[in-house]
């Protein structure tokens, strides 16, 4: 039944600035943003106008092509601005808090007593649906498709990722209710995959109505894509849904309280953060308050999400919808002299998966302060076999990337594009000698597949 998986491939990037297991509360942010760009390929149609007041959980916009998918406001207040970019594309909706946090309340419900369709209706109406993602394509799930299974990863193995054991501690009831709701929506199983390394919190160990699998290995062991591939791989025509563990608890909270309450615990981490730790805040919150007085240097990059897959935001930007961490690392926009810090240097400050740098000789406890420099220019693919070492799939990564670059639909289908998401290639992108933006290429490939084959 439950599977135990061991991975040999992968890479744990050892970065300075892991969050300490201490949690502080933050006061409600004054400004919150909902960014349609967080939901790939989604075209919003506004429901509210600038200047209108909304409650927390009030619907802001819905998906233009699938109107049942609605997107809600995380706080109560006034719609301050609808920021538009080129071709009037909506970039973000800014909501100014009224300081009250009054919710658009619904009656609590027990998923156990509901049918799958009722659960689905509830989530769609409440604006919680976007928490459910689908594979293939890695976008917000299409509610009209039946998933063959639903996957939840109980940990994140990305560098400086938050520890979900800490994040979800004591939230067993919410998490379980969320799992119950998910279980109603599939005829298959809900898979909860826990880390084989170290102990998992009771929240995960005691989860009911799900298949608990363990996976042991380096990053990307915690990626849900890796787990799907080894537990129940996706074939053409099949759908699998994935939900982040903390989002499961948020869904559960809605059923328990009837409130769209998207408070979440995030890790503030990275080498440029004084005293990295956890904070409780809200999806879409402005990070200026969070970062105030904590950034150690001037020239930094603030990332909503982890260093491998997150989005670059400004120091007064907003937390992404799906993100459970804010990471701050040094910006690398300086020339680096080849003999000291560049390609010819000894390189004790570089973390490399290749043995051309002395990373391998340094103790495993040594952590690195990496910046955003690409450490070289983009080139054609030259080195072979390096992507395979960090890609624990029975998929040929370089060949799939090449198929994506050349818009080769048949090639992509044959090589397994339906199983992957850009985040699965994050490590490939990290180790690539030729500095190719592999996640971008995979995303382009997925977009092509979405428009031609779905």
């Amino acid at each position: 039944m439950s599977k135990s998986i061991k991975l040999n491939k992968g890479l744990d990037i050892r970065l300075i600035g892991e969050a300490k297991a201490v949690k502080s509360e933050l006061s409600l942010p004054k400004m919150v943003s909902v960014k349609p760009s967080d939901f790939h390929n989604m075209t919003p149609r506004m429901v509210v106008k600038e200047g209108e007041t909304v409650k927390a959980g009030g619907i802001l916009f819905h998906d233009k092509y699938t109107e049942s998918i609605k997107y809600a406001s995380p706080i109560s207040g006034t719609v301050k601005a609808v920021v538009r970019g080129e071709k009037r594309r909506i970039l973000e909706i800014l909501i100014e808090s009224d300081g009250q946090q009054s919710y658009a309340e619904a009656a609590p419900a027990k998923p156990a007593d509901m049918t799958g369709d009722q659960v689905k209706e509830t989530l769609l109406a409440a604006g919680l649906w976007p928490f459910i993602n689908q594979r293939p394509i890695d976008v917000v799930a299409d509610p009209s498709k039946a998933p063959k299974a639903i996957f939840v990863s109980a940990f994140s193995s990305a560098p400086l990722a938050p520890d979900y054991n800490f994040v979800l501690q004591g939230k067993g009831e919410e998490f379980q209710t969320g799992l119950d709701a998910l279980a109603k929506m599939t005829s298959g199983k809900v898979h909860l995959t826990i880390n084989g390394k170290g102990a998992s919190d009771e929240v995960f160990k005691n989860a009911k109505g799900v298949q608990i699998n363990t996976i042991t290995g380096k990053h990307p062991a915690g990626n849900v894509g890796t787990q799907i591939h080894h537990i129940d791989p996706i074939n053409k025509g099949e759908f699998v849904w994935t939900v982040n563990a903390q989002d499961v608890a948020i869904i559960g909270r809605y059923f328990l309280t009837g409130k769209y309450d998207v408070r979440r615990t995030i890790a503030l981490s990275g080498s440029e953060i004084n005293d990295p730790q956890y904070f409780e805040t809200i999806s879409g919150a402005n990070v200026a308050d969070l970062l105030a007085g904590k950034i150690a240097s001037d020239n930094v990059r603030v990332i909503s999400g982890n260093v491998l897959t997150g989005d670059k935001i400004s120091k007064d930007g907003y937390l992404g919808f799906y993100h459970n961490e804010v990471t701050v690392i040094p910006e690398g926009d300086q020339l680096k002299f080849f003999m000291t810090k560049g390609w010819f240097g000894p390189g004790f400050d570089k973390f490399s998966n290749s043995k051309t740098f002395p990373t391998w000789i340094l103790p495993k406890s040594k952590k690195f302060r990496l910046d955003t420099n690409t450490n070289g220019e983009e080139r054609a693919f030259v080195v072979t076999g390096e992507l395979d070492r960090v890609f624990p799939f029975d998929i040929l990564p370089m060949q799939l990337v090449k198929a994506a670059i050349t818009d080769d639909i048949d090639g992509m289908e044959n090589l397994g594009i339906y199983e992957v998401a850009p985040e699965d290639f994050a490590l490939c992108e990290y180790v690539c000698t030729s500095k190719i933006d592999i996640q971008d290429k995979i995303r382009q490939g997925l977009d092509l597949i979405a428009s031609e084959c779905m």
């Binding site: 290749s354 043995k355 070289g376 080195v383 044959n414 994050a426 180790v431 000698t433």
Partner: protein, 407 residues
């Protein structure tokens, strides 16, 4: 290095888009990126990147080639003196520095011509296509002199380099796009374009024109090729069929061949130097262990196969001996492993290496018109590599389709 950085920043605007020297930006960029890793930052996706880049990778290959270059210089010097004195029995380590000097005098011009000509061509293409120098030629430029006979005229090296860079690489799109190994293209070009001065049994040693009577500067492979003809010779001496192999093994002992004290192309004679390079390449992961090992295994298999047939003295040469003469070791370590032209899948690499080694011996023994089978077999396998990969990829695809059927 602040002052260098200032110079770069000062001149940058002239070469930037719209500047008056915009056209020459590729050359400016090539030099500045050599001196400084550029200030390029990640945009999205992976915000941090591995320290390794193509410059670092290529640097490792050049480091790995240095033992071969040094032994090549010394060996060339040694055989210069052998040829001058007309005496094969000069002790190898006598007159050490004089040999180093004499060897350097012959080899370094080859290196200079190869880099000079090749980089000029690369820069011309860079300016036309508007990209900075890609690092591939930094390695090719070192490999080309090492696969040349020491006494090859410099103009031939120049012509071969131009041919290799233009036809072998640039018309396919440059570094990373070529079908066949660039350095081997250069050698194959000379081999077929100037056969009279490239093949035969005399050219492989420096100072040919200074040869005295009764002494020819033959190579191990040249001698072996003669075993399939009526006139068998070893090191200039006529031998009979029955004694051919013994005489050969005395002239080119395993030890001498392993350490490189035999005549041959500049960089290829010393198996030890190749193995030192191989150790560095394998350890850093730049060169593929799979290819090197399977290449050697393929060579042994070819040797044993020939031994089993054994219809002429050449076929009787012990399989192990094949691996230490000619360019076999050099080819296995530095040529077959070129990641762009080799097979790219893990299983493909093993097949590619094995057949490369096997074919090298078969061509050597069965077709003595081409004494150096390694070059031809690697070029052939370069062309076959995509087909090998194709079948490996298809196997992966079939596994996925099968899963769909059973699901």
């Amino acid at each position: 290095m602040k002052f260098l950085e200032k110079i770069v920043h000062k001149h940058e605007p002239k070469f930037a888009k719209g500047g008056k020297l915009e056209k020459w930006n590729p050359i400016f960029e090539s030099f500045t990126t050599l001196a400084f890793t550029p200030a390029h930052t990640t945009k999205r996706g992976s915000h941090i990147r591995d320290g390794v880049d193509l410059k670092r990778t290529m640097m490792m290959v050049i480091l790995a080639l240095i033992p071969c270059l040094l032994v090549g210089i010394y060996n060339t010097g040694h055989f210069e003196m052998v040829a001058a004195a007309g005496n094969r029995n000069i002790p190898y380590f006598a007159d050490f520095w004089a040999k180093v000097g004499a060897g350097a005098f012959v080899v370094l011009p080859l290196v200079v011509v190869s880099y000079g000509v090749g980089l000029t061509v690369e820069f011309i293409f860079g300016v036309i296509k508007g990209h900075s120098l890609h690092e591939g030629f930094l390695v090719s430029g070192m490999l080309i002199p090492l696969v040349m006979p020491a006494d090859v005229p410099l103009w031939m090296v120049g012509v071969a380099t131009v041919f290799a860079v233009v036809i072998g690489k640039e018309i396919f799109g440059g570094t990373g796009m070529n079908i066949v190994n660039v350095a081997l293209t250069a050698r194959a070009f000379l081999f077929f374009a100037y056969p009279t001065s490239m093949s035969g049994d005399k050219v492989w040693m420096a100072g040919e024109e200074k040869l005295v009577d009764g002494f020819t500067g033959s190579t191990a492979l040249g001698d072996l090729a003669s075993f399939t003809t009526d006139k068998m010779t070893v090191a200039g001496q006529v031998v009979t069929e029955s004694g051919a192999i013994d005489t050969f093994q005395n002239s080119y002992s395993m030890m001498d061949s392993f350490f490189g004290a035999i005549p041959g192309s500049v960089g290829e004679t010393s198996v030890l130097a190749c193995l030192i390079g191989a150790a560095l390449l394998i350890f850093t992961g730049v060169g593929s262990l799979k290819i090197m090992l399977s290449f050697a295994v393929g060579g042994l298999a070819g040797g044993f196969l020939m031994n089993a047939i054994g219809s002429n003295p050449y076929m009787d040469l012990p399989a192990m001996h094949h691996l230490v003469i000619g360019g076999f070791a050099f080819g296995a370590v530095f040529m077959a492993t070129d990641p762009v032209t080799a097979a790219q899948t893990a299983t493909g690499k093993i097949l590619y290496g094995f057949f490369g080694g096997l074919l090298a011996i078969l061509i050597r023994v069965l077709n003595p018109a081409y004494p150096e089978g390694v070059m031809l077999s690697i070029l052939f396998m370069n062309i076959m590599a995509p087909i090998i990969d194709h079948y490996v990829i298809q196997a992966n695809v079939k596994r996925r389709l099968k899963r769909l059927k059973t699901a």
